[in-house]
Point group: C2
Chain length 367, copies 2
């Protein structure tokens, strides 16, 4: 059915996409929480609109240039869950702030002050949320320092303090875990603890935003969490499947590739390497074991063992791949977000078989 599609290409099964979107929407709504999906995974406006159609309250972006693309598609409520630093970026935030409800991440006095000054100078107000580090050691202020920073931000003119947020993924006590329920509960406890600290200073914390694909459902159950921001759940991948956050049947994105060489019975080469499959999710990463650079559908014993830029090397546990030149394979990637980021276009396949080529309009938007 893919005869008309050149390889390597990304195929998205829309039946699974709709199931993934509606299932997450229903589960999060059922827990009395809002859902604000991160569009980093797909970068495609029509899929963001579909998420909104199924009840998401808005979307999340990392970069302003991604948000601009989404705003141009009619999306009106966008959270940049990322510190907005630098005059050029603040200038673009000011523009976007006139067009949509824009919420900006802050995690430092310096960053907040620059936003405050820019807002004051232009007679506008930026809605901001304070980022809390709940254990990933990335951006975000330490929980015990959060109340004082919230007080500082609340006192700055030109800023409207909306609440707090975090991203942590599936981590428990600082270490990656497959116990996504415990991870979500702990994430929620840390964040709602911060909320209480801030409220003791008489500052309202309206929005308490947490969650990732593995922890969205469990953190949404924590009393006080108002919003979750999963991204990968729209497609899922082998990382999520190995961590127990999805099953193979819910993985909606596959790479369609062709066997181009079979130099020996135990080796077959496909026409996709590290420019087709992202290599950031490595074999053997704890706490789960990724066998190769993706799962080859329909061939249990085959492993996509090595990648060079345009070649993927498939080996077989049995010593014989059984693959012939010209054979087409479908592979679920380890990390779908960074993999789709390598492709200018994807193919959306509807349940009734219609296939459309769609541009990743916000792909490559790094500013």
């Amino acid at each position: 059915m893919f005869d008309s599609i050149e390889t390597p290409s990304v195929i998205i099964e829309m039946g699974k996409v709709k199931r993934n979107i509606s299932s997450m929407a229903k589960d999060i709504r059922g827990k009395g929480c809002s859902l604000r999906p991160h569009i980093k995974t797909h970068k495609i406006p029509e899929l963001a609109l579909m998420q909104l159609g199924y009840g998401a309250c808005g979307i999340t972006c990392a970069k302003l240039s991604e948000a601009k693309v989404m705003a141009e598609s009619g999306i009106k409520d966008i959270f940049i869950a990322y510190p907005v630093i630098g005059k050029d970026k603040i200038a673009r935030a000011l523009e976007l702030n006139n067009e949509v409800r824009l919420i900006l991440g802050v995690d430092s006095e310096r960053g907040a002050l620059a936003l405050s000054e820019a807002a004051l100078a232009t007679g506008t107000v930026f809605e901001v949320r304070l980022e809390i580090d709940t254990g990933l050691r990335r951006t975000g202020i330490a929980p015990h320092k959060a109340a004082e920073m919230a007080r500082l931000i609340s006192s700055m003119q030109g800023l409207s303090f909306g609440g707090v947020y975090t991203f942590r993924g599936s981590v428990f006590d600082g270490k990656p875990t497959t116990d996504t329920i415990a991870a979500g509960k702990q994430e929620g406890a840390i964040l709602t603890g911060v909320k209480r600290d801030i409220e003791k200073l008489g500052i309202e914390v309206r929005d308490v935003s947490a969650g990732s694909t593995p922890t969205a459902r469990s953190v949404a159950e924590v009393d006080g969490i108002t919003e979750v921001r999963p991204g990968t759940y729209i497609f899922n991948d082998m990382m999520q499947t190995n961590i127990g956050a999805s099953v193979i049947e819910d993985c909606a994105a596959t790479l369609l590739v062709t066997v181009i060489s079979t130099p020996s019975p135990d080796l077959a080469i496909i026409d996709g390497g590290s420019k087709t499959f992202a290599a950031d999710a490595k074999m053997g990463t704890t706490p789960f074991y990724l066998e190769g650079y993706g799962k080859i559908l329909g061939y249990e014993g085959l492993i996509l063992e090595r990648l060079t830029e345009e070649h993927g090397m498939i080996v077989s546990g049995s010593g014989e791949t059984g693959l012939e030149i010209g054979k087409r394979l479908r592979v679920i990637p380890n990390h779908v977000c960074t993999t789709i980021n390598l492709h200018d276009h994807v193919y959306l396949m509807e349940e009734y078989g219609n296939i459309r080529k769609v541009k990743g309009a916000a792909r490559g938007k790094l500013y």
Copy 2:
């Protein structure tokens, strides 16, 4: 001097590019060999034209869609060092064959036969080279089977057998090595051995093409090697520097990034992660040790230790990064080819300071 450039961005220093291009061209010419650079590293037509200007005999591409972009820029001699498999791809090869001198890689009877049939059906001839596996275990036929395959290909109508080629990188006796001279000599010996085997059958082997950035200069000295195909040398990177194939001063491509968060004295976050820096070259890869995901220029003790999609985590051996929010840094990537592949545009900086934004026109061309 980069105040007008948003981050994260790729900056290419053209003085270093010209030095790298001319030095390789001079060295390879001095050994009586032809140079056919692989454009995978830059994907920018004007840089390919510069390589031709400095004396390259043509260019190398992996994919036909890359070659098409290069042909549209006026390049007339293109080697697809990659098996061309599938009707759609052969159809595009037939088109391109009318426009330029096109050379196609083959490594199987099945692949060669499909090309032969397509050429015959359209009354044309494909110039082909047989790929030899000299130890990378990727595409390419085993050396001891090469003569028989060359005989077969030579007998096929519609094909003109031009010679043999290999890609191996810096490998010796099947293992990665930093002894690039020994690696090049061995690569050359294997390939010229194959040439002799084929010639014993009375088949002319005009082109014997080998080489990578680390081995180009040493394999070019092997009697019988007619052409080398390095790619990375135009920019160089930390992988090449760690293997001894370049020095820091010859690394022409850097990522300009901004510190966006300093959550603690020992941690600073930059606005580029695994969608800005390719993660395929990992820390600790043998035989060389890559410390982090790139070299931060001007800060000896700082390490770009972790990447998530849009965040890069910098730590310090001393426990204090000394970095402030808003500080801009320049980072030499570990693997420049896959890193530049993540960016739609790069900035070319001339020696006199002029900076131009240029599109990676063949980036994302995976077909």
